[in-house]
């Protein structure tokens, strides 16, 4: 039983950290540029399939394949920003609708290209650490550590560097930021590149653990959004915690309650938390 519960907690924490990465991307893009990129899950899908193609088809080692996969996702994000998203600034509904169109296009393209058959990669890092009675797969620990490191670095980067302060300034008042010497179009592009690249990284990590399907992006973006609302929109660490809480609740919930409804448990908690803290767990009114 301990093995089962702890296993599900770890599993939930990793899936939750993936939600967290998407939530972070949504929060960053929205908070800084005022653009809603609800299609982030699709960039995750692109990253995952790119990793699969590079590692399995071309035979590159996994850690080497991750970097170009992130770059491919970021490049796709750059194109999407130039072609569509920059026209939806400060218009949430249009951003959402453009994203829905983009989700449809990318998901169907992936279906045409890769078919609906789930794809699995070979084990990247087999084996498990044993802690007494409980076994923890090594790869899952690595993935969790990488995601945690990325989120902490993002936080530090925004809090401590000139670029981070410029981003905050831009979020508060784009014109004033421009007058202070911030190249605003470049900053907007940078945020878009970073958030989509991050989603690509999430996808690349996902590919090493789970099987890939073209529809994976849609699920993750919905959960990412729930995580972002749970943590409080605008709070960076909140998005990570929101994701982890959501993932763990789903994982542990499906031990004791029917698995088929696991998507509902997170939502129930979200509604319950919104009842008591409308601004989310870490948000401020």
């Amino acid at each position: 039983m301990t093995q089962l519960v702890l296993g599900q907690v770890l599993n939930g924490a990793i899936i939750g950290a993936m939600y967290g990465i998407i939530a972070l991307g949504i929060t960053l893009t929205f908070g800084i540029t005022g653009i809603v990129n609800f299609a982030l899950g699709e960039f995750m899908m692109i990253g995952a399939y790119a990793t699969y193609a590079l590692a399995e088809r071309f035979g590159w080692p996994y850690p080497v394949a991750v970097v170009p996969a992130c770059l491919i996702a970021a490049a796709a994000g750059y194109l999407a920003n130039k072609a569509f998203f920059r026209f939806t600034r400060n218009n949430l509904v249009n951003g959402l609708l453009v994203s829905i169109g983009l989700i449809s296009i990318l998901e169907s393209a992936a279906l045409l290209f890769w078919t609906a058959t789930p794809l699995e990669m070979h084990f990247v890092l087999p084996g498990a650490l044993r802690l007494g009675e409980v076994g923890l797969p090594k790869m899952k620990l690595v993935v969790f550590a990488v995601i945690l490191a990325v989120i902490v670095l993002t936080y530090l980067g925004l809090a401590r560097t000139w670029l981070g302060r410029a981003a905050f300034a831009y979020a508060q008042n784009p014109e004033a930021a421009m007058l202070m010497g911030v190249h605003t179009p470049r900053l907007e592009t940078a945020v878009m590149l970073y958030s989509t690249g991050l989603a690509g990284l999430g996808g690349a990590l996902y590919a090493s653990l789970y099987s890939l399907e073209p529809a994976m992006g849609g699920v993750y973006v919905l959960k990412g959004m729930e995580a972002a609302i749970l943590g409080g929109i605008g709070s960076l660490m909140g998005s990570l915690w929101g994701g982890v809480i959501l993932g763990v609740i789903e994982g542990v919930g499906s031990i004791f309650l029917p698995t088929a409804f696991r998507d509902a448990y997170g939502l129930a908690i979200l509604v319950a938390i919104l009842l008591f803290r409308p601004a989310g767990l870490f948000g401020t009114e």
Binding site: V93, N94, G95, L96
Partner: protein, 314 residues
């Protein structure tokens, strides 16, 4: 006004001149999706709340109408009433949660989408009632009472054409009545400026909920009809794609108009029949149309046409 009357009468007169089953079938689907589009437009285009809850109500009503008719032996029309009531109850629950917390724009969209997903999961996994992924084959037909002919079953394209057209007309009339009343003015005020509407003494929560409930209740009829027309119901009725299709129809036709969603529905339902495409290619086309409409033609076909006419008249 005259143009509109001519268009409606042309639709009613059409089967007298056109006997092509192919064309009538396209129009029947157009009318059913048009009902969904018009009711979504009541919530989205007129009240400004982007709801993603439509497929849930559509699917649940399709199941409920059929199950009540087959298991409880109710006639079709009687079975649509509890379905509509269920739709209202669901809309009240989801709407109260969302509006109480003042979830707006895309937060509202995401939370309604999440609720719709939960309902889809319930339908998908409740095997004993819904038969899971396999779906249900619908037997039986709706019947109507006609003067001079007694009770007749709806059979064949022409009968279905009139049944769906009358349903669409009634839906449009109910929506139009709502919109021209005090309630409709409140919807518009909420769309344009919610805070101002509140300071003017409009109970924003109540009117948002009213719009959401009316829209969903009317949409439930479309579900019942669709199940009987296609003679097959499966959980795909509740999928996110369904929501997207209807949204694309509303946007392409013109949000904030009652005719727009029907025009959008006509274009998007006839498109796959006119050009033969695989399902994936069709989804790509839908996505492209959605993006194109929002970025290039945000007022949709009807909105652009109206603007063009107004410019010409001036």
């Amino acid at each position: 006004m005259i143009l509109r009357l001519v268009l409606w009468s042309a639709l009613y007169a059409l089967p007298i001149f056109v006997r092509s089953d192919f064309l009538l079938t396209i129009l029947i689907f157009t009318f059913i999706y048009g009902m969904l589009g018009v009711t979504l437009d009541l919530i989205f285009g007129f009240t400004g709340q982007l709801s993603m809850f439509h497929p849930a109500v559509f699917g649940v009503s399709a199941y409920m109408t059929y199950l009540l008719a087959s298991k409880a032996g109710l006639p079709f029309w009687l079975a649509t009433i509890p379905s509509a009531l269920t739709a209202v109850v669901l809309a009240m629950i989801v709407g109260s949660i969302c509006f109480k917390f003042r979830l707006k724009t895309f937060y509202f969209a995401v939370v309604t989408l999440a609720f719709a997903e939960v309902i889809r999961l319930v339908v998908l996994n409740w095997n004993s009632v819904t038969n899971g992924t396999l779906g249900l084959v619908v037997t039986g037909r709706p019947t109507v009472w006609l003067p001079g002919m007694g009770v007749v079953a709806i059979k064949g394209p022409v009968a279905w054409y009139y049944l769906t057209l009358v349903s669409l007309t009634l839906t449009v009339i109910v929506c139009a009545r709502c919109l021209s009343s005090w309630m409709g003015r409140c919807f518009g005020a909420i769309r344009l400026n919610e805070d101002l509407a509140r300071t003017l003494g409009i109970d924003v929560f109540r009117y948002k909920l009213a719009s959401f409930a009316v829209g969903n209740a009317l949409a439930s009829f479309a579900g019942g009809l669709y199940g009987y027309y296609t003679a097959y119901i499966d959980p795909g009725y509740l999928s996110i794609n369904q929501s997207m299709d209807v949204l694309a129809m509303v946007l392409l036709g013109g949000q904030g108009t009652l005719i727009g969603p029907i025009v959008g529905s006509l274009v998007l339902t006839s498109l796959p029949h006119v050009i033969d495409l695989r399902a994936e290619a069709r989804a790509i086309l839908y996505g492209a149309i959605l993006i194109f409409t929002i970025l290039v033609m945000p007022r949709g076909i009807v909105g652009t046409f109206n603007a063009w006419r107004a410019r010409r008249a001036a």
